[in-house]
């Protein structure tokens, strides 16, 4: 089952640069939340703070709270590693581990965390995750061939399977289809709609149609000007946001007046 996320007064900084200002939003469980906005508006940065991936970047930090089922991810006794096990991530560019087979890629999360599985457990997990990612039928006969031998769309679904295999409660996706052709994009969108039964999904996209097609909630980020922090302009149910935006800025963006 998915879990909801509660973001309260979050501010994100890169060193002295204030990147994202004062975001408060609730991400509903077992729903798809899309984050849209022009390039450089901080939506990916914001997404990365939801599983503390921004901390990989030197000097990046944030203030405020992110609550997963009521527990603050930035709390003192919270282990970074546990956060990322709970909240999985799929990246813009498919990044299967090049030294691993398809099977090993799916099991990578388990192995990297020192967990041991019996062969049947591993087999079951691989099949379950690949079926979850809608890839099983295409790769069932070549599980031992390298992950990077697959097509771009298949690689991205392999990455989703890899994230899914960790049984996270939330899945973050950072423009997962921007490097894919329309057919593969459709396959991933269908998959995401399936996945929300089990996971809470947050997806960053610069494709408004995609947000409108498959998300339940949409947040619109915008930046006032160069060097200024970006902020969450509007957050609402997707239908509401696209048909009846409350802010003028949102209306301009979705009707294509700028950005």
């Amino acid at each position: 089952m998915g879990q909801g996320l509660e973001v309260i007064n979050e501010n994100i900084y890169y060193g002295a640069f204030h990147a994202v200002e004062n975001v408060t939003m609730s991400i509903h469980k077992n729903a798809i939340t899309a984050l849209i906005g022009p390039s450089g508006c901080g939506k990916s940065t914001f997404l990365r703070t939801l599983n503390r991936m921004h901390e990989v970047t030197p000097k990046a930090y944030c203030t405020g709270e992110v609550l997963l089922d009521g527990v603050n991810l930035y709390g003192k006794d919270i282990n970074l590693v546990d956060v990322r096990r709970q909240i999985g991530m799929v990246f813009q560019k498919a990044n299967p581990f090049p030294t691993m087979s398809i099977r090993d890629n799916v099991l990578a999360g388990i192995r990297l965390n020192h967990k041991r599985l019996s062969k049947t457990e591993a087999d079951d997990l691989v099949e379950w995750a690949l079926q979850g990612a809608n890839l099983w039928n295409e790769v069932r006969d070549k599980l031992s061939s390298p992950g990077i031998a697959l097509s771009g769309g298949q690689q991205q679904r392999l990455c989703i399977a890899r994230a899914v295999a960790m049984h996270p409660s939330v899945l973050l996706m950072d423009e997962p289809t921007s490097a894919l052709d329309p057919i593969s994009t459709l396959a991933i969108e269908d998959l995401i709609t399936e996945l929300k039964k089990e996971f809470t999904i947050v997806i960053v996209t610069h494709n408004m149609q995609q947000a409108a097609r498959c998300s339940d909630y949409t947040g619109f980020f915008n930046v006032q000007g160069n060097g200024k922090p970006s902020h969450l302009v509007e957050f609402n149910q997707t239908e509401q946001l696209f048909s009846n935006p409350l802010q003028r800025e949102t209306d301009d963006y979705i009707s294509g007046h700028f950005g």
């Binding site: 990989v56 999985g88 990044n95 999360g109 990297l112 965390n113 031998a149 994230a163």
Partner: protein, 314 residues
């Protein structure tokens, strides 16, 4: 005139550009051949000179009790084993230091003051003349263990001073080209930094690291000057790195060459096992051939390992 110029000038310039292109092609091909020429010449002369004395007897005997050009003719076993021991020890010292430094530089330092300093020192170190490294190692051990401390281990330390910068630089490059995405993918799965470095970064760059290390070995295995000072040479086979002088192939070659022609009396030349005046040059060439074969063998191993663990692209 104007019209004529417009029509003819592009054609003329096209022709001249084609000539230019041909000329460049010929130049590049001939330069490539020129670069190959010394390599082939070296290989040819080593094989042709070295094969005179290169046999099983030569490989399995040392120089104990060998006098001038007289029988027994002696061999290179002491130098082969010495070179292998010293080089392996130097590698065992250099690889951990070099690899961990490279990991520090790429994964931990993020361009701080310390990493800038290390980077500068590595550049300086890679320019150290090898004889200085030999003198340094000799002085270092003499300081701690008394003057005249010459043994295989001192030589290995001298060689590792030369190897470490090469190992750091090549490992650094190899770690650098592992895409950021892969590290992030691993972190996003909840892997710790050390797990990510070991299982993803090092694993992906293993073939490159192996060939880098082998290049570094090939670079120092032929070093003569530092070993001449730090390890010396000895006629019998010494397998103890910490006790007494130890021969090595380059020093062996140098010594044989330096001793020059042997004096052979007429009666000795007519013996069943004749005295050979030019035997020392023959030994020098044969030892050089052994050295080249060892380097070749190392390269083959490196290629095999790189191939075995390479990222399979389809």
């Amino acid at each position: 005139m104007q019209r004529n110029g417009l029509i003819t000038s592009p054609i003329r310039s096209l022709r001249s550009r084609q000539y230019h292109d041909h000329a460049m092609t010929i130049l590049i091909y001939s330069t490539a051949c020129l670069a190959l020429l010394p390599l082939i010449a070296i290989l040819w002369s080593t094989i042709s000179h070295g094969s005179t004395r290169f046999d099983w007897y030569f490989l399995t005997h040392n120089m104990k009790g060998v006098v001038g050009g007289l029988y027994p003719y002696g061999g290179v076993l002491n130098a082969i084993l010495g070179t292998l021991l010293i080089t392996i020890t130097a590698t065992l010292i250099s690889v951990p230091i070099g690899l961990f430094t490279a990991i520090y530089m790429v994964e931990y330092a993020h361009g701080g003051v310390i990493s800038t300093m290390i980077s500068f020192l590595v550049d300086v170190m890679s320019g150290i003349p090898s004889i200085v490294a030999g003198l340094f190692a000799y002085a270092l051990f003499s300081f701690f263990f008394g003057p005249g401390c010459i043994n295989g281990f001192v030589g290995a330390v001298a060689l590792s001073i030369l190897m470490i910068p090469t190992v750091i630089r090549s490992c650094e490059q190899m770690l650098d080209i592992v895409p950021r995405d892969l590290r992030e993918a691993s972190y996003a799965l909840g892997a710790t930094k050390s797990r990510t470095i070991i299982n993803i970064v090092l694993r992906s760059s293993l073939p490159g690291i192996v060939s880098g290390v082998l290049l570094a070995i090939a670079r120092v295995i032929g070093e003569t000057a530092p070993l001449l000072i730090a390890s010396g040479s000895v006629s019998f086979t010494n397998l103890n790195l910490f006790n007494g002088r130890m021969s090595s192939l380059p020093v062996y070659v140098y010594n044989q060459y330096a001793e020059g022609m042997a004096v052979c009396s007429a009666s000795a030349r007519a013996a069943v096992h004749p005295c050979i005046p030019g035997i020392r040059m023959e030994r020098a060439w044969a030892a050089a051939l052994v050295l080249i074969l060892i380097v070749l063998f190392l390269n083959l191993i490196g290629r095999f390992i790189s191939h075995r663990f390479s990222v399979s692209h389809l």
